[in-house]
């Protein structure tokens, strides 16, 4: 780790858009809805699995105020994936704008664009549909059974990268990896474990649901303003689904009301674009909260088998992780999420014998997608629960067991090469890892020393402490690309144009800080614009914990180029060599002796005086490493052993994200992710009936915490310096969500001896486990 004397980076500055948003200034898609916009409403399938045998839209079309009705009979049938990922996409092509086959309750039947919401809703009721109802597939285990109903029986369904894909068996993807010999490692162990875990459905719940609008401009181009994390993927996929050239589509991303991965998906934009094209009117589509739960995307539920072998001295001899992932009605992000279940957790502890297998299956339930944590959340639950169980078996303190095994600076892992995202990974050695200090700092804060075995605890209310260690990545190496444009203005300010997509994380601020630091100016001199496919250079978008690390390097590079141009102009003006100059406080100054020119003077000179040119440049970046951030999480809980109710008393998250470019925002990422993880562990749950209909698509019954439920939370940023990152930074956005499931499960066990292997940890499950003496038979949940 090295200490740097930063002026803008790592400083307590105000997030650049914070006041605008706190004042309630028009910022989000819905704030710009044109008065004459047609409103879109979608008719959803009442059946989880069915075929439309007849559909009559004529009544609806005739209704006054209705401008267009779209259904499978009047749109192009173009197979694609809704996942906003690199190209060619690792997700299978298995989706159409509209289809005659219904694959989940809520599937698109027909869309109406009308003058008002009321008319649109009335028109939906006027659409007559008859269905042939098919047997739905509602469990992972049922999807894989011989003779199971085939969800994707359409001939077009295919994988576009070389990866196993067998839709006739409801299999959307498969991946496996062997390092050493699992069986041999298990045989060498003094103790072995072999357990199943299941993590449940969960939704991102951005407070702003999906919302998009579109119109056709005077040049017949489609302008889409949308709440997206992936404007460029959105442009590409919309062009593909409408069968029009990319140049006819412009995607604008204003401020986004939260995403967490769910807006890494083309959920509304194909339909708004098509409606705009058909009606030549502005069109607007906003999901209801219920649609957000049912029809957008979710966390992939996974059925996991975790095997581990260890010697009594704490050496881990074998790790086996088999994941069966439920991707729901389409295969969006299925392969890459399950790949991350392996690649983002298996390198965490040193072990020579590792087995990993991931199988992704279709069901007739809501579709999985990208969700903060992206597979690592699922694996961390199984893996870090098992670490505690193994520690107990070999009679070692779980903290010590982790501390002696975890990966350290200078180490590598064969997993990095063996497992990438949908293909082989990239070799890398760990160049920054302060996990040991995270463990120490977190243990001190939670009071690990006072932790006692559950067998010593008495009374109705029992407290327990649990922990978990975590890692993630920083961008997808050799795949993800980000770019930035920087240009100088007369007053010495700069326009920073980026494809990088601030979805509320504060990445615009973080990237502007990097630019300001490199240029030698202040944050207020950077005018950020992100993102607009007509105006800003390409960036894959906000996902894979990539923005600070990857887009940050693109910004740093372009700022360095512009800095050189500034020095060159300064040298012209001061009649010396650039090497004799440096930059201080937005001025070019001689290193020795008198003489200086301000940025404003330089800009004016470059524009109006001599050798005129625009000071400015563009830089692109792909990364060759994905340095993991690390974290140690600790939870203290209290269990009411009479009812099984569990309350989080305190939660400590100690994280190593390299240099936190903006410490408050970095803490905010941890706190938000941890809170999301706590709710997911304890209260968030999809309830389905036996026909696959979600019963609780609302905030009344799908419970998120509020301020009134906030436990004591402590975030500790343990500094390190990642030499490949911008000013030493690594990622921080995702890792925090992976801790609460295992840390709380371990804390519950430490409180009352109950071991939970299926989320969420409801009072009833805990009560039943207590009744059963500690554990109930394993069951696949929802």
């Amino acid at each position: 780790m090295s200490k740097r004397d930063f002026k803008v980076v790592n400083q307590p500055l105000r997030k650049i858009d914070a006041m605008t948003l706190a004042l309630g200034k028009p910022s989000y898609v819905g704030d710009f809805k044109p008065d004459d916009a047609l409103i879109i409403k979608m008719l959803g399938s009442p059946h989880a699995h069915a075929r439309i045998t007849s559909i009559d839209i004529s009544e609806a079309e005739k209704m006054p105020g209705v401008h267009c009705v779209l259904y499978y009979g009047n749109v192009p049938r173009i197979v694609h994936t809704t996942a906003g990922q690199g190209y060619p996409e690792p997700s299978p092509y298995d989706t159409f704008m509209f289809d005659s086959k219904m694959r989940f309750v809520g599937d698109r039947v027909a869309a109406v664009a009308a003058e008002t919401e009321k008319i649109a809703e009335a028109a939906l009721k006027a659409i007559k549909v008859e269905y042939e109802v098919l047997q739905p597939v509602l469990r992972i285990q049922d999807a894989m059974k011989e003779g199971a109903p085939i969800i994707h029986d359409e001939p077009e369904a295919r994988a576009v990268i070389p990866v196993p894909y067998e839709p006739k068996k409801n299999m959307a993807a498969h991946v496996d990896m062997e390092i050493g010999d699992l069986e041999k490692g298990m045989a060498e162990a003094d103790e072995t474990i072999d357990f199943q875990f299941y993590n449940h459905y969960g939704q991102h719940c951005p407070v702003e649901p999906h919302v998009s609008m579109a119109w056709v401009d005077r040049e017949d181009r489609i302008i889409i303003t949308t709440s997206t994390q992936v404007p460029f993927h959105c442009r590409r996929i919309v062009a593909q689904t409408l069968d029009i050239p990319v140049r006819r589509v412009r995607v604008i991303k204003p401020r986004i009301g939260g995403g967490f991965g769910v807006k890494q998906e083309i959920v509304l934009e194909d339909v708004v674009a098509m409606m705009a094209l058909r009606t030549k009117r502005p069109v607007y589509w906003e999901y209801t909260r219920a649609e957000e739960f049912i029809s957008s995307r979710t966390r992939h539920p996974m059925l996991m088998r975790l095997r581990m072998g260890a010697k009594r001295d704490g050496t881990i001899t074998a790790i086996g992780l088999d994941c069966h992932s439920n991707t729901g009605w389409n295969g969006s992000q299925g392969l890459t999420v399950v790949c991350n279940s392996g690649s983002k957790m298996l390198p965490l502890y040193r072990c020579g014998n590792i087995h990993f297998e991931g199988t992704v299956v279709y069901t007739n339930l809501p579709a999985g997608g990208a969700y903060r944590g992206y597979g690592a959340t699922q694996a961390a639950f199984a893996f870090e629960s098992a670490m505690d169980e193994m520690a107990e078996k070999i009679g070692m303190d779980p903290l010590k067991f982790r501390a002696m095994n975890h990966i350290k600076s200078g180490d590598t892992s064969p997993v990095f090469r063996a497992l990438g995202e949908g293909r082989e990974g990239v070799d890398q050695a760990i160049t920054s890892c302060e996990l040991a200090r995270c463990i120490k700092a977190g243990a001190r804060e939670i009071g690990w020393k006072r932790r006692k075995p559950h067998t010593t605890k008495k009374g109705r209310y029992r407290r327990g402490i649990g922990m978990a260690c975590l890692m993630q990545g920083s961008a997808i190496p050799e795949i993800d690309m980000g770019a930035a444009t920087l240009k100088m203005n007369e007053d010495g300010s700069f326009n920073l144009l980026m494809g990088a997509t601030d979805l509320g994380t504060g990445s615009d601020t973080v990237l502007a800080q990097i630019a300001a630091e490199q240029l030698g100016t202040t944050l207020d001199q950077i005018i950020v614009y992100s993102s607009d496919t007509d105006m800003t250079p390409f960036d894959v978008g906000a996902y894979a914990s990539s923005t600070t690390y990857l887009s940050g390097q693109a910004v740093q590079n372009v700022a360095l180029k512009v800095r050189k141009q500034i020095l060159k102009v300064g040298a012209d003006m001061l009649d010396c060599k650039p090497a004799e100059l440096t930059i201080e406080d937005a001025k070019v100054v001689r290193k020795k002796g008198e003489g200086q020119v301000t940025f404003s003077e330089i800009a004016l000179y470059s524009m109006y005086s001599a050798n005129q040119f625009q000071i400015g440049d563009i830089s692109s970046k792909i990364v060759h490493h994905s340095p993991p951030p690390f974290a140690a999480h600790f939870a203290e809980v209290e269990v009411d052993t009479l009812t099984g109710a569990v309350r989080v008393i305190k939660y400590v998250a100690a994280a190593d994200c390299g240099t936190p470019i903006h410490p408050k925002l970095a803490e905010g990422q941890v706190e938000g992710a941890v809170m999301n993880g706590i709710c997911y562990a304890l209260t968030e749950e999809y309830l389905f009936n036996d026909k696959g209909r979600m019963l609780n698509p609302n905030f009344g019954d799908y419970k998120l915490y509020t301020l009134s439920d906030l436990p004591e939370m402590k975030t500790i940023l343990v500094p390190s310096y990642e030499k490949t990152g911008p000013y030493g930074a690594k990622s921080i956005a995702e890792i925090g969500i992976n801790g609460p499931l295992p840390a709380i499960a371990n804390a519950i066990h430490n409180a009352c001896g109950v071991r939970l292997r299926t989320g969420p940890f409801t009072p009833e499950k805990i009560w039943r486990s207590l009744q059963a003496g500690g554990e109930i038979p394993f069951e696949e949940g929802h």
Binding site: L23, G30, V207, G257, R289, E667, L707
Partner: protein, 158 residues
């Protein structure tokens, strides 16, 4: 539709609006340019639509516009601006309590209603009064910090 005129005081100014009988207050506000009030769930369960009516925070997504007739309504637009932000807005911005910002106006309005009535609100008061505002970004830690800094009882604490 049966349009009718109602009159109420909006951000200190008496104004008349033609409304439909089943129009909610948020629909009226947003279509008249008060887009700082956000729609997050449309069922009164997320608090992003909170506005102050006769001194109390309410969910504008479920209150019918006609019920505002004759009353006093305050929205985020009436609370502050760049040159004169409300202390809550400054505190939220400075504490890092504004991430995506979609829930922020609702939180500011709900907290303002409390502080207007009780400038020395305690942490418990904030917890009770803010129990209807969902935020998915921040985990509430920095929001709590910001709110506490605005109470005369807890100002300066973190």
């Amino acid at each position: 539709m049966n349009m009718k005129t109602i009159t109420f005081t909006l951000n200190r100014k008496e104004q008349s609006f033609d409304i439909e009988p089943d129009e909610t207050l948020i629909d009226l506000l947003r279509r008249t340019g008060h887009t700082g009030t956000k729609l997050g769930c449309d069922t009164g369960m997320c608090g992003s639509c909170a506005v102050i009516v006769d001194g109390r925070a309410i969910n504008a997504c479920i209150l019918f516009a006609f019920q505002a007739n004759g009353r006093t309504v305050e929205t985020i637009e009436g609370v502050g601006d760049f040159d004169s932000p409300h202390p809550l807005q400054t505190a939220m911005a400075d504490a890092g309590a504004v991430q995506c910002g979609f829930c922020t106006p609702g939180i500011v309005m709900t907290a303002k209603a409390l502080l207007d009535e009780k400038p020395d609100a305690s942490e418990e008061d904030f917890k009770l009064h803010l129990d209807g505002n969902l935020c998915r970004c921040t985990g509430y830690v920095k929001i709590k910090e910001a709110l506490l800094s605005c109470s005369s009882a807890t100002g300066g604490e973190s």
